[in-house]
Symmetry: C2
Amino acid sequence: MTKEIIDYLSELIALPSISAFNTNRSFSIQTANKISEKLRLIGAEVKIVDNVIPGKNPIILAKLGDDPTKKTILFYSHYDVQPAAKEDGWDYDPFDLKELDGYVYGRGVSDDKGPLVATYFAVKELIDEGKLNVNVCFVYEGEEESSSGGFEDTLEMHKDFYNDIDGIMILDTSWFGEETPSMDYGFRGVTYMGIQIQGPNKDQHSGLVGGVIREPMEDLIYLMSKLKQFDGKVLINGFYDKVLPLTDEEKELYSNIEFDLEEFKKYLGRNTLLSEDTTTMLMNNWRNPTLSLHGIQGAFSEDGSKTVVPGKVIGKVSMRLVPNQDPKEIAQLFIDHITNEFNKINSPNKLDILTIGTGDWWYGDVNNFLFSAGKEAINEYWQIEPAFTRSGGSIPIIPFMEKLFDAPAMGLGIGQSTDGAHSQNERLRIKNLIGGKEVIKKILSKL
Amino acid sequence: MTKEIIDYLSELIALPSISAFNTNRSFSIQTANKISEKLRLIGAEVKIVDNVIPGKNPIILAKLGDDPTKKTILFYSHYDVQPAAKEDGWDYDPFDLKELDGYVYGRGVSDDKGPLVATYFAVKELIDEGKLNVNVCFVYEGEEESSSGGFEDTLEMHKDFYNDIDGIMILDTSWFGEETPSMDYGFRGVTYMGIQIQGPNKDQHSGLVGGVIREPMEDLIYLMSKLKQFDGKVLINGFYDKVLPLTDEEKELYSNIEFDLEEFKKYLGRNTLLSEDTTTMLMNNWRNPTLSLHGIQGAFSEDGSKTVVPGKVIGKVSMRLVPNQDPKEIAQLFIDHITNEFNKINSPNKLDILTIGTGDWWYGDVNNFLFSAGKEAINEYWQIEPAFTRSGGSIPIIPFMEKLFDAPAMGLGIGQSTDGAHSQNERLRIKNLIGGKEVIKKILSKL
């Protein structure tokens, strides 16, 4: 049985469906075709639909069963992978699955072809055993590693392919630690802004204008210095107003997180943590909003020295947001704050504030039927109390799907935190692959 | 006569001696050879010496006459040019000299092949007329447009080629305006610094560390905001201590500067001038020191959005310096200031302050024999009182040569301010080319 599972995974790994490279397009199409064929073998109705963005990989839609008396569960995964090459420092060919010491190695084994294969065999085995008591749907995209380009509009266009969805299972994460199975219940949202200062209409030489004009960089650096305190507090008026207070129930979830602070410090290479209390640290990452300064476009950014006085500069700033901050509302607060600061400094330069992007946070209900079933299933199979985890990053397609289908989502981790999903020697413990399949079977059986 | 001059200039223009492009190396060598041949024709002893930096263009050394009872004048110019291509927006082939309406067009006609040719014919005619009463030396480099790479060390190595030098004439500038001949008596110095902040040992994702660590960009932006007031005042302790006060004599020099403020504002495209009083503005550019923020290395600098938390960032800052600020002393004041500010903010990140480069200012004595002769010569030939001008930029090789040869320098402008030396359709008024030659003849005759 395990052999059959690894064989399928191996076939998928052999296809370098790297969405970042247009030249790998045909491998992505082959991957989509192979996944579709397999799904048809277990009786699913499958459609490969064009991405609304030309040149982006297609999306696989599939459904199995339409009994209105049963629950309908939608599985989300992606079939594209991060770039990888032996020369990057892999010990093995990243596109030739290698089995060693209880692990499989290859690009995509953990992110996200392994979870997709685990889902497939869970459903297949339930069918074979005559125990599939739910309707199952699938949506597999091929652009997740490239910001899910076109996913939302394409899925919205084909929404009617699916019957009423009752729950969405996200199979695209790993356990937060090494030995504790975890379920994801949240991601932060994001609002990405640009502070644009325009002075002279082209770049100047500091020999010519140095001391003569008010340089755009001076204004920008000033404005960027007015956004955050060194203790992490964001200085934008009203920024924290809608942040949900911590409840006892939520706080309790932090008591079961497997996290090695020393390992994390070693990983960072320098201890610049704002707090070394693990719970505080995790809360700062998962449930508190923050702001980061990413860089400046239009200024000198290379090695060496260049005496340029940039004519137009854009400071890049993003904020990670949490329930119930509204990303668009936060953009407006940011605009108000920067405009206000800019007015104070009486500059002859021109300010424009750009909203470069916004994405919703996701906050799942850990008490709903999906998490309840997941918790029971994990307890039964692994004999371990699962961790309920969040992430400081953003996956806006989850709240998007929740709204589109009016159904709650849950994230089920498959691999381990050290799988190296976007790194060299990506791996997946075979125990986790099989365990993932078993847990999915149990969850579906409980619904 | 004019035809012969333009023919020589035309031969030099036909050779694209672009020092920025290694692939143009052979054209640079051909140019050096041609100039050397011509100098030999008028009896000069010429040596083409290798640049101490491998791959950089050679330097032409030449001398004519060794009468110890006569003054010895060294002419400096460069035979390399800025890049140029028809596709950049030239109306003519930049390497095929075009004569039109009293101007010649082509890459290098004004900067710096025209001045070199004017010098050549001035000396040649004086010889032909039996009126050369000075010893003449030449140093022509081929890397001026690439920061004079290797010039100082190479020249120092071959210093003994020359007899005692009494004065250095810099033939590499244009008039400050359109109709007033000018002589240059100063450039600012420069100290270029990097403020390096190192946090985690590699770039991080703001989803992972946002809110968790003290981000290096926060420290850097803070430090960069503590360097300069919006009115232009530099906040570094002791920065102004050694700046020479303005004398009445120096102030008087500003009364004869041809400068069109409205044109300059039009050129900038936005009026962000710190002062609209022309004299104040020129003084801020020429005789007052300043500081510019150029950009940040290591941070996100491209279009679009990237949620990176850079691990190591380097803020690039330079200061333009004036008599009697010492560039190395200023570097130390900068280090002290930034270190002091950094200590205030109690950061776990690592600060390193890099001195990326320093270059001396040049401040000529407008009352010495070269400027006196130049003033008389310009008055006689052009019937116009010359302007004494400085520049806000830096040419450290001038003070270097003054020290190396223990002789004063003077800059003699040849073309006009609108020649477009580094731009498309570079041009030189033929009247200026001939006038330049005549003024050089008169200066040499007066010594």
